[in-house]
Symmetry: C3
């Protein structure tokens, strides 16, 4: 049902389509682990068109393609390229489109992925466009909850940290709300979720200032980074960031069945001692990015 | 007939060999489009040895190799390498030669590709060496004319823009003249074709200063970029560049059967409104770079 | 016997294991040359995790993997990545580990490869960590001697040049001594082999200041680069470096059966006229890096 489709925004996908992606991703897990072979995408070329660096995302698409026998065309250093000569995005996309079967685009400006999709004949997958969307991140986050907790509907999900500037939290809040989750927003008063995001949610989320408020309630703790640059005063930053830090002591107050997620890379938000506690799922979450992208590539290329 | 051969200059190829390359390229078109599979080059390694960036050329060789099941070794950032430690070109070529089956070299200095070919045992393909040759560009340009107009012999072909510094126009003029085309040179007086190129042509080309002179006559309009840096006075640049610009109005005066080509990337030389007019073939021309390079790689590796 | 093993230091390998690696490498030679096909590693992914550039090493691992039908994930520009955001080595390794089947790591700090091996579930191969080890270089150097001279035990092997700072010479001296070679150290007085390396050798090596002392005695001349930066006075550098230079005249004094090696890239240490003399084996030595790495990858991935 997704053959030939562009994946620009998570909102472009129906709940039925999201569930289909998860179903295919589930079958891809042993292939992603290298335990089972699958060469469905052999002979197909994925072009990585990255106008800003994002190694983690780029490599996870590469791994997904390689695990299915496909090939990669790497267009990830635009400063040294035609762009520097003044070529338009449309012309660059047309070139890359005629060299490949599917384009994965990352761009600093919101709307760039949608524009690329208009000029490319082949499917375009948005790997993040500025303050806009990053739909494969949202899909892998939701897939992690489904696989590790069992469902999304009815869960108490805490989004923690910088909810103002963090793109990840915005799309995720809207998508989880649509899937029937109860959202809890936990952030400093200066970094709360913007109104234009809140307005797009069906259920009004609960708002908390302290992690303690929901520590024994939440099923999912989705931690995001608070950037130092957001605070004029470094002492203030240390105080605020520290109050949202997930330490071993915080984890001990959580439910046994709760899970901790993080889009990674993390810096100080989660202490290393948490890594070996049963609630830690952020490395597994990162791994789930592979089967999700394998599923998506298979489906848009019509070879699932 | 081309097995094991170095492709350094278009002049190294006989007309018979060029026609053989076109014949193979024609069969490669559906494979290049991803519509048909062909794994002739599986197990073969192409080394991209790029001493200056040229994303479009590098990626089109990569696509050509990948579409035939081959692999890529990317040596395209020499500043961060042995070169920086003072290694000679000969030693670098010997290393890359022992790691791969065919070398594609791009170098800022004329003659570098010939030198590389001397030190490598495997075939070397020149992907542009300074003011020197770029034979695969010339081949794809000629292939575009043959496929899109039907022949080269007897055509009126206008080379437009910077004919003084533009390497592309130099090799192309000589090659097209040899294939029996009638060449028209259209450039500002300060950017005319150098005498050493004219001397190598059998037929004296017609020289024009204005695009209007040949707008209803030419079968092929080959447009090249006029670089701002060539003009001491920016106002003069705008006036001159503007007078060679291909707009919708200019295209309306062309023959219906005429085609417009450009080596890309374009900046301002062709208006976007031309993109959807039937004469526009520059994106198709860029695509033809893939089957031409597939044909060349197959032939020099002897697995066609 | 090496399945699943990390290869961090040459000292981790028993003599029996080294001989097994050589045996497999010997069978890989025609595959490395592209004369025979072998797709043993098809479906496997090697991640190149290079925290500092080393094109020669990176490309030789890539070639080794590609020649066996495997794929490459290139993580070789860490400045533009998660590292820049403050991610720890452990977290980066965990990510790359979940994306691939084997990690090749290059790092400026000694001990980094050992640390990576602790955090990765898949095998880790050290491709050089600061002043530490570079075991695949040591293996290919020894393999060259075995293939080109016939044995290591009992050979007179001269290590020439900068023996103080040159990491290559350190590991090699210890490994060759263990294999029963007689080591001769030839260096300027300011660049002699450090005591902590000498202490780890069973047999006391002979120490020479002049190349002449051993020119008609040595079976192997292992030449390393003397870096200009080591000398406060440029004139002194020229005088010293010149006195260790291998010229045609020097080679004429060598035994016919002697071989000349160099880890490459070379600058001035060996004159170009030596390249075609029968003793020159440095290009062959560079080539042997491919079958050695093919053997190692096959063995640690358990698919030999």
């Amino acid at each position: 049902m997704l053959k030939g489709r562009d994946i620009v925004s998570i909102s472009d996908l129906s709940i039925e389509e999201i569930e289909r992606i998860f179903e295919v991703a589930r079958k891809m897990v042993p292939v992603a682990r290298g335990e089972m072979k699958n060469e469905n995408l052999r002979g197909h070329i994925l072009a990585n068109l990255f106008f800003e660096p994002s190694t983690r995302t780029r490599l996870s698409f590469e791994t997904a393609m390689l695990r299915l026998g496909g090939s990669i065309l790497d267009f990830s250093n635009p400063s040294a390229t035609s762009i520097a000569k003044g070529e338009t995005l449309a012309d660059t996309v047309r070139m890359v489109d005629s060299y490949s079967d599917v384009i994965v685009i990352r761009h600093p400006y919101e709307g760039a992925a949608r524009l690329a999709a208009e000029f490319a004949e082949n499917p375009v997958i948005n790997a993040g466009d500025g303050a806009g969307q990053h739909p494969t991140q949202t899909l892998l986050d939701m897939f992690t909850m489904v696989e590790e907790v069992g469902r999304i509907n009815g869960l108490n999900i805490a989004l923690i940290g910088d909810l103002k500037y963090g793109r990840t939290a915005h799309s995720l809040a809207i998508a989880l709300d649509r899937m029937g989750a109860k959202i809890h927003l936990v952030s400093p008063p200066t970094l709360t979720m913007p109104t234009h995001i809140l307005r797009r949610m069906n259920q009004k989320p609960a708002v908390h200032e302290k992690l303690e408020d929901i520590v024994d309630l939440a099923d999912v703790f989705y931690v995001t980074r608070i950037q130092k640059e957001r605070f004029p005063d470094p002492t203030e930053y240390i105080r605020v960031a520290g109050s949202y830090k997930i330490t071993g002591k915080v984890v001990e107050k959580m439910k046994d069945s709760a899970i901790i997620m993080h889009p990674l890379p993390r810096v100080d938000e989660i202490s290393p001692e948490v890594d070996n506690m049963p609630q830690a799922r952020y490395f597994k979450q990162a791994f789930y990015g592979i089967p999700i992208r394998m599923a998506l590539l298979s489906l848009v290329l019509g070879v699932e």
